[in-house]
Amino acid sequence: ILPSLHCSIVCVLESVILRCFGPDGGQVLFIRDTGQAMISCSGSRILSALRLEHPLARMVVDCVLKHSTATGDGSKTFVLLLTSLLRTIHASACKEPNVSHNYVSRYSAEAATGRHLAFKTLEFASEQLENLITAAVIPYGCSLLWEYTAPTAHLQTGAGSRHVQKLLASFFCSRLSRSQCDFATSLTCNLLSSCGFKGAQPSSLLQFLTDNFPTLHTRVSGFPFTCSRLVEGQVIHRDFASFCPPNVKVLELACGQTSIVDFKAWAERSLSCVFANLQRLGISLLLSAVKQSPAVLSLAAQANICIVECVSEDELTLFAQLNSEERVMVKLWNLVICGPGEGQTDQYASAILDAILMLLSAWQPLANTSAKATEKTLNDEASTCFPTHPLAVSEPGCVIPAGGTFEFLLTRALLQQRHKNSGDSDIGTSVVSQLLADALLTVPRQIYSCSQRHFLHTQDQILNFIKSHSHPFSLLSMDDLDCCGKASASLKVIEELGLESVSCKYQLLLAVVQCASRLLQVDTVLQTHAVLNTRSHRLTIYWLFGAEFMSVRNIVV
């Protein structure tokens, strides 16, 4: 493989992604093989829709999907970062081919340097990045406070909940068209505040919502998005097979127990006995997972019992769970998502699900490592550069203004560290820091792609702002009403830029570096043709550097 091939493959992906990245990005229309239209701004959906052939490209897509299913966010930035990282690695490999190794061809020398750099970067990222972020970024962030425990407390009240709102708003801006962001944000906030758990952790609420999202929402097409709303209770996505409007007293769950197996009067008689029993119990609604025979329907109508048949197993499970003895939930709400067409409702639903997923991963604490490591890597000079962080590292949900703040801060830290290390013998670290810093800056460059001046201006503004305020954004979480001067300034920054989660960003960066080094490890792609039985199979085998067998993918022709 030529070293430039990696770059060109990811560049193609980048060119697609760029169409829907940043404040001026649009949407992608995807026509399925069935002719169904799907609209999306989500990077992972677009990449998986491409149905790429090249094994390396598929490997990249796999990495992106793995990351985005875990965090629900960041797939577009993933591709951008990966591209720029590979580009910088390639550029620096071209500049100084490692002469110490005695390679014949220039290409293989470049490839070897690239691999070496990628390995170094991975090493650096997994060992030092976390500490660096803890020291250089987290102090400027603020904690995502979740201030309600009772369902009466509304999201609009607390400052922390305003952060949740802001975080969601910036997420939706990257997923929906701008005019729909506000509505989607308030809808999701209402969902979160309505489905309050009794004294449970927000993460368990988010986990519950993610797990049960298919049963917790209903898609309705033919209406504008603004008609979407929350409906109290659970919605069973089936019509009545037999409906008699009674006053509902008791709800009973019957799961496929009544079905006529025997043709005989006995069956009918026993059925009537069943219904007589049900009637005696005062039951007026029967939910069934399977289709019922006309005899059951007619007996039910005579007994004044409503029947809903073919209810999905998930809905029945949730129903049983909610109506069992120990009730976990205080209230259950169903989210009705409206859109003019199926493609749109689909997009809205997946965006909201991903938003909840993103909140969940934002909630996870960034670091579990002890503070010892921090002290070891960062000596005293470093800690004077950065203010001592008021937030505990393990505190969940650190957020920071979006629009490149994370990248600017981390780049600054990386460059400072490089400067510090330049005298040391460890040349590798300084090169790697430079590499990462260069790659990171592409993200804000793309965000402000309309003008270079705007990019520089924003960078200046943010860095100056941080310099002049010791804990600029964290103030806000404590109480924003008192600090009139500072808070209003930081509020303005947040208003302008939105918020993003530091832990999501960190996971993203780590995943990108892993993916890049994995890509560069691939030495050759062999396409073999093997005949198995009568069928011809084409096996595409990836060989790792050092002839280590990595994975075999069967593509049957």
């Binding site: 697609v16 169409r19 829907c20 404040p23 001026d24 990005g25 649009g26 949407q27 992608v28 229309l29 995807f30 026509i31 399925r32 093989d33 002719g35 239209a37 609209i39 677009i46 829709a49 491409l50 149905r51 790429l52 068209s177 701008r178 005019s179 097409s221 033919g222 209406f223 504008p224 998005f225 603004t226 409007p245 079905s259 006529i260 197996v261 043709f263 005989k264 009067a265 009918e268 008689r269 059925l271 009537s272 025979s293 006309p294 005899a295 059951v296 329907l297 007619s298 007996l299 109508a301 005579q302 859109g339 003019p340 067409g341 199926e342 493609g343 749109q344 593509i555 049957v556 022709v557």
Partner: protein, 567 residues
């Protein structure tokens, strides 16, 4: 082992709205839909490439579902409009024309995608808020104490579909029937929350004026001789039983089970014996009407007829629900247990109705019932199918008025009024709007102009004979000036505006819609209580159509990349 087929890569299109080809296609679609719009709209003949059935139509639901395009954007727009029509039954062409014109105008204005979308959304919000206001100048409250406005609303919808080929008096007749059918399906008792149902029966051949609405149900019955011969029962109401299971003597409900029959055992006769026993019980219970959704065994039929019971078989699942509502019966599907007394229902009387060659059994409800049958007659199958679609849509729109008892002025007057209102409102607070939306004042004006032009162009699309559209400068209502009268003084002799609410006159200055229209605050229609609008539009359907159109247009403008799976 199933055969795995390699997936082929997808086909990608970058910036789909920038190609001239897609512009051409969108424009063709717009022209096509515009030419169908309104009472004077041109008809379209639909037929597939292998011959067969030919459909004449100008209805958006029929037309759009017949169109398939290679351009994904068109299919996207089509689906949105069809979904809207499926929910509301009206304003489909309005939504489609508005959406397509808005896309065109927004692109022509050269605005950035996001700015255009945001502006459109903002202007839409202005419109919907204004339409929901109490003092909205193009909205009227619908009073249910008089059927006049309901009939006008119905006739506006029916007359806007020229493919029905109706004369003025036929339109009036059909609108009255539609309103009558609608009123019959509204239950009288205040406790009943469920609306009834109108069953439509199309009859080919007789003239339109023979169409009628009957309370109760009309069901097909191949041989009605039995009713003539039967001694008419004197006792009213008549007891009826309704079966939902097959009475043909088959073993239908065995599922996947295996049945072993012992030698010498005759299952068929056993079942038939059971059926006859059932028949006997029914006769003993003095049932006079025996209805089955599926087939009834001939022997049982014969037995029941000999006992003066009227048998109706093969009713079909569609008529089951209205029949159960009408009779108050419960469906019976158990053959081995006696029919419980509470399963019986009643009908008041039976009769025979003849329409052309078709003879039908008329079931009259015994008490309060909100089931009625609408008999639609027309000369041939093509116009009849269009009439059926139109009548069903009309019923749907009339039902919508129960939720929002408002109506909008028709004939394009709502569109011109709304455009003028938005123009006035935004130009009054241009600085604030631009600041709130984060765009420049010039961009704001460009977007505003595009939006208002799109609204006006819907009104202009109503004219197909080369006439020009005009608007007065006080109420902002819509006038159509005939093509051959382009003199200035013609304004003096013009009649009322398109909706009929504002009188024409010498003192009413007007402006052509195709020229630059001034911004002014449109006044409410004159306080003349006697003036009644001639053309009305559905309030609920139009608001939804506006929202769907803008949302779809914004989406289409926002699409930057198309990926087509070619598998």
């Amino acid at each position: 082992m199933s055969r795995l087929v390699k997936k082929s890569p997808s086909v990608c299109t970058d910036l789909p709205l920038d190609t001239t080809d897609s512009w051409k296609k969108l424009r063709v679609l717009l022209q096509l839909l515009k030419s169908c719009f309104g009472p004077k709209g041109r008809l379209k003949l639909l037929h597939n490439s292998i011959g067969g059935h030919v459909v004449t139509t100008s209805t958006s639901s029929v037309l759009l579902s017949a169109i398939s395009s290679s351009l994904p954007l068109i299919n996207l727009i089509k689906t949105s409009i069809l979904n809207h029509v499926g929910r509301f039954g009206d304003c489909g062409l309005f939504a489609a024309i508005f959406c397509l014109t808005l896309i065109e105008q927004s692109r022509q204005s050269g605005l950035r995608g996001r700015a255009a979308a945001q502006l459109n959304k903002h202007l839409l919000d202005l419109c919907t808020v204004y339409l929901r206001q109490e003092d909205c100048g193009c909205k009227m409250e619908l009073g249910f104490n008089s059927s006049h406005n309901l009939t006008t609303l119905a006739s506006s919808i029916i007359s806007s579909k020229p493919a029905c080929v109706l004369t003025q008096s036929e339109v009036l007749h059909m609108s009255k029937l539609s309103v009558q059918a609608f009123l019959l399906t509204v239950p009288c008792s205040s406790t009943g929350v469920k609306l009834g149902e109108t069953v439509t029966v199309p009859v080919e051949g007789p003239p339109v004026k023979h169409s009628a609405v009957f309370p109760g149900l009309l069901v097909d019955m191949p041989d009605l001789l039995s009713l003539d011969n039967a001694k008419r029962p004197h006792l009213r109401p008549l007891r009826a039983v309704v079966f939902s299971a097959s009475l043909a003597g088959d073993l239908s409900d065995t599922g996947d089970g295996v049945i072993e029959v012992h030698e010498g055992e005759d299952t068929d006769s056993q079942i038939l014996d059971r059926l006859l026993e059932l028949g006997k019980q029914v006769v003993e219970d003095e049932v006079k009407l025996f209805v089955c959704q599926k087939v009834v065994h001939p022997v049982l039929q014969q037995y029941l007829r000999s006992q003066d019971v009227l048998v109706v078989e093969r009713l079909g699942v569609a008529l089951m629900e209205p029949l159960l509502q009408l009779t108050g019966a419960n469906p019976v599907a158990t053959l081995h247990t006696p029919v419980p007394a509470e399963a019986y229902g009643t009908v008041h009387d039976l009769g025979i109705r003849q329409f052309g060659s078709k003879k039908m059994l008329h079931l009259l409800p015994a008490g309060e019932s909100s089931i009625c049958t609408m008999m639609l007659c027309h000369r041939n199958a093509t116009v009849l199918s269009e009439l059926k679609v139109v009548c069903q849509n009309t019923e749907h729109v009339l039902r919508l008025t129960l939720r929002d008892p408002y109506i909008l002025l028709g004939g394009g007057c709502t569109e011109t009024h709304l455009a003028t209102y938005v123009r006035h409102k935004v130009s009054g607070q241009l600085t604030e709007t631009a600041a709130a939306l984060g765009c420049s004042q010039e961009e704001c004006l460009l977007g505003l102009e595009g939006f208002c032009r799109s609204l006006q162009s819907v009104a202009m699309a109503l004219e197909h004979d080369g006439g020009s559209s005009a608007m007065d400068l006080t109420h902002a209502h819509h006038w159509i000036l005939p093509a051959d009268d382009m003199r200035e003084e013609v304004e003096d002799t013009l009649g009322p505006c398109s909706c009929g609410l504002v009188e024409g006159g010498p003192n009413k200055p007007k402006t052509y819609l195709s020229t630059k229209t001034p911004a002014f605050s449109p006044g409410p229609p004159c306080a003349d209580a006697m003036a009644q609008p001639r053309v009305l539009d559905s309030f609920t359907a139009k608001i939804n159509a506006l929202q769907v159109a803008v949302e779809t247009a914004n989406l289409a403008l926002d699409v930057r990349f198309i990926i087509q799976d070619m598998n």
